[in-house]
Amino acid sequence: MNDEPITYKQGITLIILSVLSSYLIFVPGLQAGKDVWAAYTIALLCALPFLKIHDSYLSLYPGKDIFDILKSNFGGLIGGGISILYILFAFSLGALLLEDFAEVIVTAGIPETPRLFVVLTLILLCILICKYGLNIMAKWSELAVIVMLVSVIVVVLLLTKDMKLNNLKPVLQSDVSKILNGALTYLTFPIGDVFIFSMIFTSFSGKGKKRVYTTGVFIVFLFTIVTALTVILVGGPSIIVTTYFAFFKVIQRMNIGNFIQRGEILILLAFIIGGVIEISMCLLAVCKGIGKLFNFKDYKFLVTPVGFIMVNTYILNFKNAMEFIEWDINVGPYYFFFLQYIIPTFVFIGLLIKRKLLGKKV
């Protein structure tokens, strides 16, 4: 059963909602210190060609996701092999997101609750969402994205009185390797997460912007740069090295006339709303991939067992939060860079050669 086409607007809102959510609390690329904005800009410029490539797939192969494109162009064996790498990407991202969300929910909201209970509840909700299909998620995202973006804008505006411009100075004095390291992190999380959608999006109905990936990532870029700058302007450089949930910690300082406080609840709400959609997207991508590998038209019957295997992976992955954070900083960017950028580059070159050989214009 293929999902009904969604609109371009819904595609963009889905990207914003799911990609931005995780990075409202974890500010990526803070290794670059005060020059985090430079790291983000470098990362965006490097990612632009890849975003364009994924946008072009939508118009060159209408009605086909990446699994269909791989199968029809590279055949069952090679196409299937590359599809497995894409499935691995979606699966490992889903398992890591479970870790991320459980960590934040338990640490910030309900410290007495066992993490596994939170993860189990999250995955059951994601399974249910996936069973309802992409259309329901898309409709929900149209509303939820407004809540998320307005929450961020309100919180940032309320924090302006605590911002100190001196915290950003001196400009561009950080070590180049640190800026590049920050750029690599930003390139993989959050920009790279967007490529999950190449496994889900097939076609769009109605009129709208054809550049779904570019537009979505650009809006995510704007909001993440605003949150990162807020963290540095309010918290100062020290917050970068001492806190993992940087933006969350900064919001906790918000206190306007002893009246407006606890603004973090807004961000936590936006984080959970988007997070559930992001994990559901990963789950949907994995099930769609497995379904396509075995020539099934309907893949929704796979959602439950795949979701449970994801929970098992979560249990086995890390013993404690510190181990996870260390992995996320030292190993994650390299691993995901390979799956998000190297593999798609080879796929694109392969498609280009194939089209050239067949005499078609790309």
Binding site: F296, F301, T304, P305, F308, N312, V331, Y334
Partner: protein
């Protein structure tokens, strides 16, 4: 908590296999049963405190092999 997880898995497996069987979706069942069995087996082993390898550690050693050494 781990026991509750196992219980939830078994409950879902039973509730999902029955409709697939009734609708005679044999191909779906042939794929569903091995994946669900794998999920159940890993969960059972975790419950029995059997030491299983961490996928994250495997990835870490692979990345270290390529990037660092």
């Amino acid at each position: 908590m781990k026991k509750l997880t196992l219980f939830v898995y078994i409950m879902f497996a039973v509730f999902e296999i029955i409709p697939l069987y009734r609708r005679k979706q044999k191909r779906e069942l042939y794929l569903y049963i091995p994946i669900m069995s794998a999920a159940l087996l890993i969960c059972l082993l975790i419950n029995m405190d059997v030491k299983l390898p961490s996928p994250a550690k495997i990835i870490e050693s692979m990345v270290n092999m390529i990037v660092r050494k």
